[in-house]
Amino acid sequence: MYKKILFGALLAALSTQSVNAQEQATSIEDLQKEITALKEELKSYSKKQKENRQDIEDLYDYTEKTETLVLQDKLKLSLGYKVNMDNFSKKLADGTEVRNNSVFSSKFMLNIKADIAENMKFYTRFSMYKYWGNGRVHQYSSYDNMQGRVPSVSTLFVERAYFDWFLNREGKLPFALTIGRLPTSDGPSQQFKANTTRKGTYSALLYDGASDGIVGTINLSKVTNYDGTYLRLGYAKGYLYTEQSPYVTNAFIGTDNKNLKDTDVYGIFLDTKFFGMKRSLIQLSYSKMFNVIANQLDPNSKQNTNLGDFSMYGAMLELNDIKETGLDLFTHFGYSQAYPNGNSYANFGSLLSNANETDQKNGYAVWVGTRYALDKKKTVKLGAEYNHGSKNWTSLTQGAFDFYNKLSTRGDAYEAYLIYEINRNADIRIGYLTIDYKYSKSAWFVGESQEIANLTTKDVDRVDSFYLKMSINY
């Protein structure tokens, strides 16, 4: 009996062992299969990886080709085009009236930018501004500050050509030197009416035109902890005396005219933000012009002369898109002082004075304006401007884009306009401008200003202008 039990137990143990051995063999087989499958998968992965690597290399080649093309594009071009239709009437001091119902004009601008190096950028603007169907040279378009700024022939003028050279960029006081034909036109707050961003450095009430010079810009933002704070020190050559001798044709510069001195302009400007508002601008300025020349275009005349010195003070505030409501506001103030030296140009008189007078002549001007976007997308904007200039107000805005140089007005000017954006890069503006001149010779440096009401000459008494303008900026 005992033997039987022992034999049974042994048999049971042996059968369990064989089942275990069978199970083990199956799991090893499975594992081997899995390993083989994994190996296959790995193989396919590494094949895919190889292919991917190849793709990445191909992609890199293509990207590099694109990069090479981009790097070859050293110049970045953009264009501006304005077409204007003006319908105006002028009332003259003698009681007569001049009308023109369709003065068409076009201004073409080709802008070129170049990143010369990380610390140097170059900018150029070529301009052509002309009346339709008229190729006559504008008598003032040869003045240096008006080239490309007043309607004349279809020639391209270099309105701007300058470079910014940045120094100490990472330091506490970053500094930039701007040298060349400077961005002294279309300054603030002309951009509201033009429906662009700020396109010039200095208040357009005081300066609007081309000029050659050097500007040093110190970025005070880090030191003052106030973003957008810049101090500028500028020098511009208002007039360089040259004489073209009919006998020695190459002796163009360096002749010894004892009567004429170069006109030099020095200025100091401070830009900052209004209580830290990012979309605002405050600008305070002072500039002085030494040895104002009577007539740039008449260097050989013995009657031509330096008339004295001239200085300007300016203050402006501009608030753009206040609290994102689409409301823009601006106000400018200008104060001019003329110091005649008594010299007289022909029979025109001296600096804002009659011949031989040396009394200082002061003038002032204000310019205020607003613009409001009527729709959510800001495609329709309504704007209004007003400016007033006193009897002796004189500005350097002879190169203003508008035909009338309205900001030089010795009197009052009102303007209202409506802008409609056709697309992101084009708009139409319809507007009305009226100028009531109280005193004569607005924007003129030579001779004393007189009350229009007392004159019976061809001086302009009043201008009314309806206009339609279309602009493309791309």
Binding site: Y123, Y162, D164, F166, R169, P174, A176, L177, T178, L182, P183, T196, T197, R198, K199, G200, T201, V215, G216, T217, N219, Y230, R232, K278, I322, K323, E324, T325, L327, T370, Y372, K376, K378, R424, N473
Partner: protein
């Protein structure tokens, strides 16, 4: 004239209370760089839910999205940039 003055004052008062957070602050908060893309590329971002999620724009209110889109497009690399001497 008096009515006009009152209207202007109302607009000013209204303007002060319209947006609690400026769009510039929103851009900073979202760590977005307007000049990192061209105008068309920003437009593409606002047309794609996936891209808006990537830039954390998807969760913003429709009003903030619109403000942000306008700002980013207006300050894109190919937008109309200011021209001022020597500004860094």
């Amino acid at each position: 004239m008096k009515t006009l003055k009152i209207k202007l004052a109302l607009i000013l008062l209204l303007s002060i209370s319209v947006h609690a957070e400026s769009v510039e602050a929103l851009v900073k908060k979202l760590k977005l760089f307007p000049a990192s893309k061209a105008m068309v590329q920003w437009e593409r971002v606002f047309k794609s839910e996936r891209k808006m999620k990537r830039y954390k724009i998807a969760n913003l209110s429709m009003q903030d999205r619109e403000r942000l889109e306008e700002y980013l497009i207006n300050h894109a690399i190919d937008s109309d940039t200011p021209t001022v001497a020597g500004e860094i």
